[in-house]
Subunit: 258 residues, 4 copies
Amino acid sequence: MAIRTVVWGENIHERTNAVVAQVYPRGMHTTIADALNTDAAISASTATLEQEEHGLPQSRLDETDVLLWWGHARRTRRGLPTRSSSGSPRRVWQGMGLIVLHSGHHSKIFKRLMGTPANLHWREAGERERLWVVNPGHPIAKGLPRYFELENEEMYGEPFSVPEPLETVFVSWFQGGEIFRSGLTYRRGAGNIFYFRPGHETYPTYHDKTVGVVLRNAVHWAFNAERHEELMKAPNTPVDKAIEKIVERGAKLAKHPG
Amino acid sequence: MAIRTVVWGENIHERTNAVVAQVYPRGMHTTIADALNTDAAISASTATLEQEEHGLPQSRLDETDVLLWWGHARRTRRGLPTRSSSGSPRRVWQGMGLIVLHSGHHSKIFKRLMGTPANLHWREAGERERLWVVNPGHPIAKGLPRYFELENEEMYGEPFSVPEPLETVFVSWFQGGEIFRSGLTYRRGAGNIFYFRPGHETYPTYHDKTVGVVLRNAVHWAFNAERHEELMKAPNTPVDKAIEKIVERGAKLAKHPG
Amino acid sequence: MAIRTVVWGENIHERTNAVVAQVYPRGMHTTIADALNTDAAISASTATLEQEEHGLPQSRLDETDVLLWWGHARRTRRGLPTRSSSGSPRRVWQGMGLIVLHSGHHSKIFKRLMGTPANLHWREAGERERLWVVNPGHPIAKGLPRYFELENEEMYGEPFSVPEPLETVFVSWFQGGEIFRSGLTYRRGAGNIFYFRPGHETYPTYHDKTVGVVLRNAVHWAFNAERHEELMKAPNTPVDKAIEKIVERGAKLAKHPG
Amino acid sequence: MAIRTVVWGENIHERTNAVVAQVYPRGMHTTIADALNTDAAISASTATLEQEEHGLPQSRLDETDVLLWWGHARRTRRGLPTRSSSGSPRRVWQGMGLIVLHSGHHSKIFKRLMGTPANLHWREAGERERLWVVNPGHPIAKGLPRYFELENEEMYGEPFSVPEPLETVFVSWFQGGEIFRSGLTYRRGAGNIFYFRPGHETYPTYHDKTVGVVLRNAVHWAFNAERHEELMKAPNTPVDKAIEKIVERGAKLAKHPG
């Protein structure tokens, strides 16, 4: 069965900004989903902010293997309550893969999973970005050249306040003098997380073929066929069910609060 | 100057449970602070839940280099709003060290910094715990034997749903058949975090001399003399202030939302 | 195409020790290969020490995707020169997966790739080992229960002097009181490496069904379809071929030694 | 007591190349040692290739807490047998800190400790290098600005075939379009290792004040007051000395080969 993938897009600037509408007439989410669907092993659909429950009701998340997330506007960041299904990390902890794109670094879901502010420096000047593969054996780098370029991109500069990743896959060079760790992997609970830096909405980044390779590799890497609901609980193992026989000793709180 | 250290204790069971009161007549927090203060390079004071602002107003956190956290009761976990200074990760991100003890794994501050549920299995049977040093060169293991034992402890069993740590320092063997990664290091922003498993309130764990060595080592390891407030912001670097001279190109959102 | 897998076995004790011969009449390597070949996506063959070039001439390594390594006797460790193809890490660096089993921790190839002595404590008493899954979302833990037991195993105890792994997948509990990090992942160059602790030759460990699941998962995880020969070189990028145009400046060694 | 530090320099180009001799008339090793000795807590001396036993007899290594290593010429790389004390990783495993500088990435000691070829791309054009602090809370980044520049440096480009580090501290931007992970931390056995990229011999890098801050921070970070000789052995724990009482069971090899 193909990997059930949902591309979530804010879909605001595509409708309110003429430049963005021209680059992504059908929305960034659709362009990304199209790039994923060129791989028969991936079945990608889309969801957007304006849909009911932001297009991500619990029932849909339950049927999602990998979620890609693109959001930028302030109201998106502030608007999605962490108690809503779309803003909750629970499905990630249970094993849903999450690929956070570009300005999604400031989404609630990403900051919640990182445990850090995920801040950075930025500049919108359409400068050149060159992504270097620093981990050529990583599954997400499969089939890539030593580096690839995006002629126009927004700059993100370090320090990027995220935890030390499991592995760093890409590091970006920017024309204006900055560098940025632009491909980082994490696991939270049973869920694999990949942060991928490029993707400013006024540039045709998601039409780029190499970017498509990265995204398809990332979906395969993030996919976890299992669902680990048991990680949501902190069960007691009673003394009489201990694996090795033991006798209860010492003092005990009358009612253990767990 | 000595490392300004605060030991936060819930201080509930010490006052409501006769067993705990007998083991820690002055409160667990005081016993821990006393163990730290045997090191002249550490200056440890205490704070407790019942104090105003839980003993941790912003003004005090501002003067704290390393915070140790012990909490267990349900109301402690639920009671501390993340918006309160005591439940906020901001000081950790800025560089305050945090040492989370035992049942503190379920505190809001720890779960918030880990980005995971931090669940585990548990059993209160007073069984033997043996902590093995798996990383003998780590600063927190300085001066320790190959292993040390606590004759009576609560059992915590894997899986412990926390991120892969920077380094694993201790792994515990339990009489009833479980193991647990009981000493784990992390950095979030500029703040060093150490999780140390032992410390159930009905046993004399914090009177143990080897535990004292671990805690003092951990305070030294977690200490960061600098304060990184700049990590709280995501500043723009304007085109005309780029380090390397660049010319703005390409399309741009009229009002950049950051 | 199936993953081309070679199981290398020392095949000494199986022929010289009556106990081992009874447990593994066709050799441990054959038992392991049989367990792998129950998965149609894996094509496993065997190689042994007594064969020419230890069964691993360069031509065969060139056609191998994943190598499993079991060795124990002193002469195996000392006998394989690192300059021989079988003892060389080059194929691993280029992307061949390597699964090191049990006493293979002291093999030249493993120590060479770790950069550490890979020492540990040990005891041969046929005691119970219980392997806990500490990383349930890891691909190598797919389909496993929370823990599994081997009723008779050799004990390995910490400290295990290996580098901090990418991820810890299993931790073992031993009846005699020790623990051991018994499933560890690494990448060296483009090659994925998994160390798996169990497998003393006098016990039927490789007949165990759960062990078979682990080994098959590990082969899938370690497989890298690409071959990265370029990592074997340190090429010069001449000034006139710099990506961004630069002018040579400053002093220069006449003949650059690289 | 001050940290006993030895700066090992190849000291070849300083004597054979007029340019290098002018930049470092007393040798790079002396310049580096001088920079370290501005810190009263560090006591740095020097050693060079032409000295007996390369200036690093076992007796001296035994009294060394932290070793800095600068080497470039082919004969240095090839000349130091790993069996010589100066080329051996044993003191590092036991706890001696090691700071590998610039072209030392190709030294036997570094490659031996990494378990990888440590290859990279390079260009000697005196271009601008800008080192970004990506981990501002790390002890090695203490007191540093967000970035610092070296107006003329040799370029090193990715992929740098070393293992994923414990932490990445610096990433370099190069004028010619490359990036490089230029500050990486590791631990091997009980020894802390820091790789620091800059330092081509024709440029005044080790006269730079910020580089001096980095090197002093690195010495403090790498220092381990303990000596772990026990990690050099793999001892047997006999059944009758097991911590938890066990009875020997199952089959056993007559003469255990360890």
